[in-house]
């Protein structure tokens, strides 16, 4: 930003204007300086930085309207000498001095405004501060509190499930119940099953959720002796998928039916991948198609092609913008969180189910925050008691970090 401003400043000093400056005698009118300069340690950093704030000059945007820059000066003592350290444009009310040499040493600052004719104002008041390193980011309390609270819920239900063996309920998720039906139908028709993990990488949470669903599907295809095809976008997903499917086939007692070459790499280009998968769909005519993972614009290209070959389709993604297309083109769709719940749903492992219960409790907390916050807002809007301030504090608290 500063570089840009300096550049703009240079443009302003074009040769003709300089010439006219030297030939004409101009009456020099000094702009008003900025006022109320304050200096303080830049919060939440590793030190060696001091933040300045000031009130703009009277001639900035108003008055003579001649101010275009503010120059910042720094000195090791109150008396000086003050060295120029940087410039910001008109209208700006602050500067971050990132080049403080030493922490815990007092530095003194003053600011001057400047016109486009390079006329500087008198100096502002002198402000001083020391910089300090911080070891905790105070703007991130909200993350810490919510993170700890949610983790506590998970840990609570997880340990209850583990220790007491409490049976936890999980509601029906139609898309996951349909897995068996889809693979079965595909087998009856003598057609292969296609699993497409989308264009996410292995480190996307949705892709990992998709892989747990893949494990379940692979067990079914192993049982039914149906071919499972999986084109890949990320080579790491491919490697992980090969191992998962191999494991499922071994567990089903049919390790010989596992064909590593059916889980292959295609390309890491979004539409190249879509073109390739479309080609596979048209040629192999799968009876069941699973579109699970991270999808972008190619979602509908794949889902419509899948529909045109008459496959039963089960989709799932956490990309909210693509969900409408899956809903309209597929037989079943796992919407966002439903997909993340899949591994717990399919495994029925009490520890996994414990984390689902934790999620639900967290939802109750958020619903409570919304309701209480709105009540505070309405009471505050009616100027009743301290609710207005409380409401503002709550809203600000959420915007920190």
């Amino acid at each position: 930003m500063n570089v840009l401003l300096a550049f703009l400043f240079l443009i302003q000093q074009s040769p003709d204007s300089l010439q006219s400056d030297t030939t004409k005698v101009i009456e020099v009118v000094r702009p008003a300086p900025p006022t109320d300069v304050i200096a303080m340690d830049t919060p939440n950093d590793e030190g060696e930085s001091i933040a300045l704030q000031w009130t703009i000059s009277k001639d900035d945007g108003d008055g003579l309207n001649s101010v275009i820059l503010y120059n910042v000066f720094r000195a090791p003592s109150k008396e000086g000498p003050f060295d120029y350290i940087g410039t910001v444009g008109a209208g700006r009310t602050g500067y971050d001095d990132q080049d403080v040499e030493k922490d815990k040493v007092t530095y003194y600052y003053k600011v001057k405004s400047q016109t486009k004719d390079k006329v500087e104002s008198e100096a502002s008041n002198v402000a001083s501060a020391q910089s300090f390193p911080q070891w905790f980011h105070h703007g991130r309390w909200n993350y810490l509190i919510f993170g700890v609270l949610f983790t506590f819920f998970f840990a609570f239900y997880l340990s209850r499930a583990k220790v007491k063996g409490t049976k936890l309920f999980i509601r029906k998720i139609a898309g996951l119940d349909a897995v068996e039906e889809a693979v079965g139908r595909s087998t009856e028709m003598g057609k292969p099953v296609l699993f497409c993990p989308g264009i996410g990488y292995l480190y996307h949470i949705a892709t990992i959720a998709a892989l747990t669903i893949l494990g379940k599907i692979a067990k079914k295809t192993a049982e039914y002796e149906t071919r499972l095809i999986m084109p890949n976008y990320d080579p790491l997903v491919m490697t992980a998928a090969q191992e998962i499917v191999k494991q499922s086939y071994t567990e089903a007692g049919r390790p010989d039916n596992f064909n590593e070459k059916d889980i292959f790499y295609l390309t890491q280009d979004q539409f190249g991948f879509a073109a390739g998968v479309d080609g596979i769909m048209i040629r192999e005519k799968p009876g069941a198609i699973f579109l699970q993972g991270v999808f972008y614009a190619e979602s509908l290209i794949l889902a419509e092609t899948g529909h045109s070959v008459g496959a039963i389709q089960i989709a799932g993604t956490d990309r909210v913008t693509q969900l409408p297309f899956f809903i309209s083109a597929c037989d079943y769709t796992l919407i966002g969180e439903e997909m993340f719940a899949a591994s717990s749903y399919l495994s029925r492992d009490p520890v996994m189910l414990g984390t689902i219960k934790g999620e639900d409790t967290s939802k109750v907390v958020i619903i409570a925050v919304i309701i209480i916050g709105t009540i505070m807002g309405i009471l505050g809007g009616l100027n009743i008691g301290p609710f207005g301030t409380w409401f503002l504090n709550l809203v600000n608290w959420f915007t920190r970090g």
């Binding site: 939440n44 950093d45 590793e46 390193p133 911080q134 070891w135 905790f136 980011h137 991130r140 993350y143 993170g147 983790t151 990488y201 480190y203 949470i205 949705a206 990992i208 892989l211 747990t212 494990g215 890949n232 080579p235 790491l236 491919m238 992980a240 191992e243 070459k261 292959f264 790499y265 295609l266 390309t267 890491q268 280009d269 539409f271 190249g272 879509a274 073109a275 614009a297 509908l300 290209i301 889902a303 419509e304 956490d318 909210v320 969900l323 409408p324 809903i327 309209s328 083109a329 919407i335 966002g336 969180e337 997909m339 993340f340 591994s343 996994m352 984390t355 689902i356 999620e359 939802k363």
Partner: protein, 212 residues
Amino acid sequence: MRRQIPLLLTFLTGVAIIIAFFIPHRPFNEVQDILIDWAIIITGFALLLGVHSLLRKHITHIQRKDSGWGFSLILTFFFIGVFVAGIISAFQYKGYSLTPGSSLYFVYDYMVIPLSATMFALLAFFIASAAYRAFRARRLNATLLLVAAVIVMLGRVPIAENAFFKFLTRFSDWFMFIPQMAAKRGIWIGIALGAFAMSLRIILGIERTYLQ
């Protein structure tokens, strides 16, 4: 051991990142950038596995003269050609292989771009066929979906200039801002909670399918 070491590594990296988020001091504030940089190198090696898988498949096709082996030949040919073009461009332009005028840039501009744009534009047809099917579905949910779609579509493209369409434009804006946003917010919050639970399960080693 073959399980424990990877699980321990997942735990350590995950926890390190989370702790580093709260500490604005060196070396913690650098952890995230360093790990992203490392991930670029690591996933770079992973691409070799991908290329191996793809080429093995197509070279076998060519060797066995399976039906359509000619297409496998085309794929292999273009892969090698573009890769070589990329290496040459990188040498020519001192590492910036995508400088306009380089052969890699040429390939990108006249092959990757038009092919991608055309695949993307297929959506115009697919969105129409998907809408048509939604129109025929006689379930309540599908009807709700369709009615909302029609309202917003007509609101975005007023067919005639009259009071009705003016109202529809304003109504569809409201529709996007309020009811549409309300459901999206609910879904987003759910996704964040689900993803958080999933991340914790991964870091704690409860979720380990990806490490089979």
